[in-house]
């Protein structure tokens, strides 16, 4: 399978830029495959994963990532959500990171920002809760407290699915940046 960070960065398969970190390369790709390709039965459904992922890629505004994951979404059972996802991206785009620190000396650095509300009519309650969580993790992760987890469990999310959802959003935050960073480096080499 094609290495996805190579795809996002526009690198050839044997690029010198990644040759000295073969294990990071291998396991970043295995992370991608575990999250999107060879998903274990009983864990968070693939369609939900791709819906949240296309939202996350859109919030980052990274065209290669948006195109890659839109391609996967189109072939999934969540393909019908593409308009609702595009609307959520348009409503959710902002600048980050922002958020509040635990009260104290750092409160002077608190930065307010958007608290995203997803359209539960378009997405369903379960996915809407996931989009709201994803928006928080993408733009203002330091605001994520117990209430955010309660919102997910209240929408029917199990502890294991919350772990997968959190790993997935966090992994994308890595993968999109690694691809974008290496793309800039390759262009400047």
């Amino acid at each position: 399978m094609t290495d996805v960070i190579d795809t996002l960065a526009g690198l050839p398969p044997e690029s010198e830029l990644r040759a000295a970190r073969p294990t990071a390369r291998e396991y970043a790709q295995k992370s991608y495959e575990a999250l999107f390709v060879s998903v274990r039965e009983g864990l968070m459904p693939v369609g939900e994963r791709l819906a949240v992922t296309c939202f996350v890629a859109g919030l980052h505004g990274d065209t290669p990532a948006m195109e890659h994951y839109a391609g996967l979404l189109a072939e999934s059972d969540a393909a019908g959500l593409s308009d609702a996802i595009a609307a959520a991206v348009a409503a959710g785009r902002t600048e980050g990171p922002y958020g509040a620190f635990p009260a104290g000396p750092l409160s002077a650095e608190d930065t307010p920002g958007m608290v995203f509300k997803a359209d539960a009519d378009a997405l369903g309650a379960r996915l809407a809760a996931a989009f709201e969580h994803a928006h928080m993790l993408v733009f203002h992760p330091r605001d994520a407290g117990r209430d955010a987890i309660v919102a997910l469990t209240g929408a029917g999310w199990s502890a294991t699915d919350i772990v997968t959802l959190s790993q997935m959003i966090s992994f994308l935050s890595f993968q999109i940046r690694a691809g974008a960073g290496l793309r800039v480096l390759a262009a400047a080499s």
Binding site: E16, L17, R18, A20, R21, P22, T23, A24, Y27, A28, K30, S31, A34, R40, L59, H60, G61, T94, E95, G96, P97, F101, P102, A103, G104, P105, L106, H133, L137, V138, P141, R142, R146, A148, I149, T153, G154, W157, S158, A159, T160, I162, V163, T164, S166, Q167, S170, F171, S173, F174, Q175, R177, A178, A180, G181, L182, V184, L185, A187, A188
Partner: protein
Amino acid sequence: MTETVLTHENPDEPNVFTQDMLGWEPWLPPMDEADLTERHWTALVQKGRSKMPYFMLLARDPDILEYRTRTDMDIFYNPDAGLPRADREMAAAATSRYNGCIYCASVHSRFATQHSKRKDEVQKLLDQGVSARIDPRWDAITDAAVALTSIPMTFGPDHIEALRDTGMDDQAIADAIYAISFFNWANRLMLSLGPTTPGEAN
């Protein structure tokens, strides 16, 4: 059935960036050691992690836990060429400072100090934030961390040039990109899956 969300009495939640040892507690029930299969033990990578609630919570999805850990270890521990360990740790600390992860910043500022022997300069990043000016190398790494962590991302050729001006080759710059990107993964898990607590992690 609605899942149980844990509560923690945490009146002294850390509210400053520090190089001291801190603790962490999960909002959701970690796995019990008795329920771990071979797959889970492999996913923990290091056996001692079965005593750490963070890894035992992530063990609920063992595949992504294992692959996350092995990605992390190559980015930070592979000594073959590239960026010195102290600088990789500064990249992690600067990213954590900017995203606001007090726990991650404590761990990786300690590592930066351990490998650089420059505790006061590391502390300056924690105290003053990402606008702190320390020296050309660490400033270029911090600026790269801010540019690649921000959305929209502003990382561009000027950042590459600033890193290169401090003697970094392409491998070293790729290491910085990986370290910054990886901490955008780690910070989000730590910040969202449980609170930071005082004292040593259990």
